[in-house]
C-alpha cells in the first residue's frame, strides 16, 4: 500500500519535472531569439545616441530657423554628461545670447538673462517650441526613455555606398507616455543617424529629422547638418549645423547646476 503510493507520487512528480523542463527550455529558446533582435536594435539606438555624445561632449553648432519670409541663424554651445544631463547656451545673436537650457535627468530649466530668472519647465510646456524652432523641449530632453518605452525592431537592412543602413521601427508600448504611433529611424552601420520620422497614430508621418551632411568630428563620424521639418509645412524647417565637437572631454560637475545655468558664460 505504502509502496504503491510512493510509486504514484514518483511518477506524477516525474511528469511535473518534464513539464517544467520543457517550459524552461521553451522560454530559453524564446528568450535567446528575441534577445538577439532586441539587443541589436537597442544597441543601434544607444550607439547612435552615444555617437554624438560620448561619456561627455562639448559642441558648437548653429541653428537656422527657416520660414517662407524670414530666416534666423543663432550660434549655440552645448555640453553633455552621460545620456541624461545637458546644458545648451545661445552665444549669438546678441539678442538671444545667454539664453540657456539645462537638463538634469527628466527635469529641465531655462534661463533668460534679460529677466535674470531660471524657470523650471512644467510638463505642459515640454511639447512647446524650443527657442522658436521646430524642435520641442521634448525633442531635446528625450534620450533613453526610448529603451524602456518602445518595442524596437529592425525592419530592414539595405546597403548603400559600402554602408549598411538599418531601418529601425520603434513602436511605443500601450501605456507608454508617447503620443506617436510609431517612430522610424535610418541608422548607418557606423551609427550615424540618417533620418528619424515621427508618425501619428493613424501612421501618417508628421515630422522628420533628416541628416543632410555627414562629417567627422573628433574622430567620430556624425551627422553635421540636420533638418527638422513638419511634413505638412515643408517650407518651414529648422537646421542644426555642427561646428567643432569634442568627445569624452573633462567637464566639471558644477557645469550641470542651476547656479552655473544662471552665472552663464
Amino acid at each position: 500500500m505504502t509502496r504503491n503510493l510512493h510509486t504514484r507520487i514518483d511518477s506524477s512528480s516525474l511528469i511535473w519535472v518534464t513539464i517544467v523542463f520543457s517550459l524552461v527550455g521553451l522560454t530559453f529558446t524564446d528568450r535567446s531569439h528575441a534577445a538577439e533582435a532586441d539587443i541589436t536594435a537597442k544597441e543601434l539606438v544607444e550607439a547612435a545616441i552615444d555617437q554624438t555624445r560620448g561619456i561627455s561632449s562639448y559642441a558648437e553648432f548653429s541653428m537656422v530657423i527657416h520660414r517662407p519670409d524670414w530666416e534666423r541663424t543663432s550660434s549655440l554651445k552645448s555640453w553633455t554628461r552621460g545620456r541624461k544631463d545637458a546644458l545648451i547656451r545661445f552665444i549669438a545673436p546678441a539678442k538671444d545670447a545667454g539664453n540657456a537650457t539645462l537638463k538634469l535627468g527628466n527635469k529641465m530649466w531655462t534661463f533668460t538673462p534679460k529677466l535674470n530668472r531660471t524657470i523650471r519647465l512644467p510638463y505642459s510646456l515640454m511639447s512647446q517650441s524650443w527657442g522658436g524652432s521646430d524642435f520641442s523641449y521634448t525633442d531635446l530632453s528625450r534620450s533613453d526613455n526610448w529603451l524602456n518605452e518602445y518595442d524596437l525592431s529592425i525592419a530592414s537592412v539595405t546597403t548603400e555606398d559600402d554602408h549598411k543602413i538599418y531601418t529601425l521601427v520603434a513602436i511605443p508600448h500601450d501605456n507608454a507616455p508617447v503620443v506617436w504611433g510609431k517612430e522610424e529611424m535610418l541608422i548607418r552601420d557606423d551609427y550615424v543617424m540618417l533620418q528619424h520620422t515621427f508618425y501619428d497614430q493613424s501612421m501618417e508621418p508628421l515630422k522628420t529629422l533628416e541628416t543632410l551632411e555627414i562629417g567627422e568630428r573628433d574622430g567620430r563620424m556624425m551627422a553635421t547638418r540636420m533638418r527638422m521639418v513638419k511634413l505638412n509645412a515643408p517650407e518651414k524647417y529648422t537646421e542644426l549645423i555642427w561646428g567643432e565637437a569634442d568627445f569624452d572631454v573633462e567637464l566639471e560637475d558644477q557645469m550641470f547646476t542651476l547656479f552655473y545655468l544662471k552665472s552663464g558664460e
Binding site: 505642459s124 508617447v178 503620443v179
Partner: protein, 403 residues
C-alpha cells in the same frame, strides 16, 4: 347698497361697450400670456442651470479635504474605508460618488491642453451628467478601467478619436511627475462645451495606481429633492467633521446667484408688462366714467353714496381683469401643452454652445406661478381702478344733471 346690485351695474357697463372691452380683454389676455410664456422659459433656464450645476460633478453637497479647494492636488486627498457611504437620511439620497479630481496635462500628437483628470467608479456616476451623456465609443466599465473618456470638444481640439492613445502628465503623491499613455475608450457629448473641454475620466483605481495614493479627493451626494439639502448638510457636517462640507451654492456661487436672480426676473418681467398694460386699463375706465357723467350724476342725485360709486368702478375693473387673466392663463396653458417639453434653440443660434450655454431649455410651468400671476393681476386691476373711481366720485350731481 347691496353688492349684487353694484356687480350687476358693473357687468352691464361692460356689456354695453362690447367692442371696447373686448379689445381690452384681448390686451390683458395677451399680456398675461406673454408673462406666462416668459415665466416658463425663465423657470426652465433656472432649473436647468441647477440641474446642470448639481450633475456637473457637484452633487447637492460635496465633501473635500480642508485646503483642497485652494490647492487641488492629490496631497489634499483623504482615505475612505470600504462601505464608506454614510447611512443617514437614506430615503432622501439618490446616490453617492467618490472621486479623485486633480489637474493634469493631456497631449496628443498635435496639441497639448490642461485638464481636470477625474478618477471615477462608473457604477456611482448615475448621479452625474456622465450617465446622460452620449458616447462615441463606450463609457468606462469599472473603477479599475485604465482607459479614458474625453469630451467631444477636447477630442476636436486634440485632433484625436476613439482608440487613440493620449499622454497624460500629472503630479503623484510624492510631488514628482507621473506620465503615462491612456487609450481613449469613448468620447462623451454633453449639452454645451464647457464641461467637454475640462473633464477627462478614468477608473478611480487606475488613477490611484498612477499617483500612488489610495485616496479620493471628493465625495458628492445627490439628493432626491432639493428640499432635503439643509437637513442633509447638517448631518454631513457632523459625519465628516474633519473635512470640508459644502453645498453646490457655496461651490458655484455664480450659478447660485443666477438661480436667485431668476426669481426676481420673473417679478421684474411681470411688472414691466403689467405697468404698460395698466395705462390702457386706466384709459378705458376713465373713458367709460366720463361717458357716464350724466348717469352717475343721476345715481348720486337719487342717493347713491360715493363709496358705492367707487365700488362700482372697482368691480368693473376687477371683472375685466379677471376675465382677461383667466383667458390669458387658459391660452398659455394650452400653448404650453402644445409646445415640445424641450425648447431647442440650437437651430437658431449655434453661438449658444460656443459660449458654453446650453441651447436646450426644459420649459416649466409652475401652478404656484399661475396663482401668483392671478393674484398680482387682481391687485393691479384694483390699483388701476382707483384713479377712474376718484374721477367718478368727483362728479357733482348738480353739474352732471345740467348736461
Amino acid at each position: 347698497m347691496p353688492i349684487t346690485l353694484l356687480a350687476q351695474l358693473s357687468l352691464r357697463n361692460i356689456v354695453r361697450h362690447r367692442r371696447r372691452n373686448l379689445m381690452l380683454l384681448m390686451a390683458i389676455a395677451v399680456a398675461v400670456l406673454t408673462v406666462l410664456m416668459a415665466n416658463t422659459v425663465i423657470r426652465g433656464m433656472q432649473y436647468d442651470l441647477r440641474e446642470q450645476t448639481v450633475s456637473n460633478l457637484n452633487g447637492h453637497i460635496k465633501v473635500h479635504a480642508p485646503g483642497y479647494l485652494d490647492d487641488p492636488s492629490i496631497a489634499r486627498g483623504f482615505e475612505l474605508a470600504a462601505g464608506w457611504e454614510p447611512k443617514i437620511n437614506v430615503s432622501e439620497v439618490e446616490g453617492w460618488a467618490a472621486r479623485i479630481r486633480i489637474p493634469a496635462v493631456i497631449m496628443s500628437e498635435r496639441e497639448t491642453r490642461g485638464i481636470q483628470f477625474v478618477g471615477i467608479d462608473p457604477a456611482q456616476e448615475s448621479i452625474s451628467f456622465l450617465s446622460k451623456a452620449h458616447y462615441d465609443g463606450q463609457p468606462l466599465n469599472t473603477s479599475s478601467d485604465r482607459r479614458i473618456i474625453i469630451g467631444k470638444e477636447m477630442a476636436d481640439q486634440l485632433e484625436t478619436q476613439v482608440g487613440r492613445r493620449l499622454v497624460i502628465i500629472t503630479q503623484g503623491s510624492d510631488g514628482l511627475n507621473r506620465e503615462a499613455g491612456f487609450r481613449i475608450a469613448g468620447v462623451y457629448d454633453t449639452e454645451g462645451t464647457a464641461i467637454e473641454k475640462i473633464f477627462v475620466f478614468t477608473g478611480v483605481t487606475a488613477l490611484q495606481n498612477m499617483v500612488d495614493a489610495i485616496v479620493v479627493t471628493e465625495v458628492s451626494v445627490r439628493l432626491v429633492d432639493d428640499a432635503f439639502q439643509l437637513s442633509m448638510l447638517d448631518s454631513l457636517l457632523r459625519f465628516f467633521a474633519d473635512l470640508e462640507v459644502k453645498t453646490w451654492q457655496q461651490l458655484e456661487p455664480l450659478a447660485a446667484a443666477f438661480f436667485l436672480f431668476a426669481e426676481s426676473a420673473i417679478y421684474l418681467y411681470f411688472f414691466i408688462i403689467m405697468t404698460a398694460l395698466i395705462f390702457g386699463l386706466v384709459n378705458t375706465l376713465v373713458t367709460s366714467v366720463m361717458e357716464r357723467v350724466h348717469e352717475l350724476g343721476m345715481l348720486r342725485a337719487v342717493g347713491m353714496r360715493p363709496g358705492a360709486v367707487v365700488m362700482q368702478v372697482v368691480i368693473e375693473s376687477t371683472f375685466i381683469m379677471m376675465i382677461g387673466v383667466a383667458l390669458g392663463l387658459t391660452l398659455g396653458w394650452l400653448i404650453f401643452q402644445l409646445l415640445p417639453p424641450v425648447l431647442d434653440l440650437s437651430s437658431f443660434s449655434e453661438g449658444f454652445e460656443k459660449f458654453g450655454m446650453p441651447a436646450k431649455i426644459h420649459l416649466r410651468l409652475h401652478v404656484s406661478d399661475m396663482v401668483l400671476i392671478t393674484v398680482m393681476s387682481m391687485v393691479f386691476g384694483v390699483l388701476a381702478s382707483l384713479y377712474p373711481a376718484k374721477r367718478a366720485v368727483k362728479i357733482s350731481p348738480l353739474e352732471a344733471l345740467r348736461l
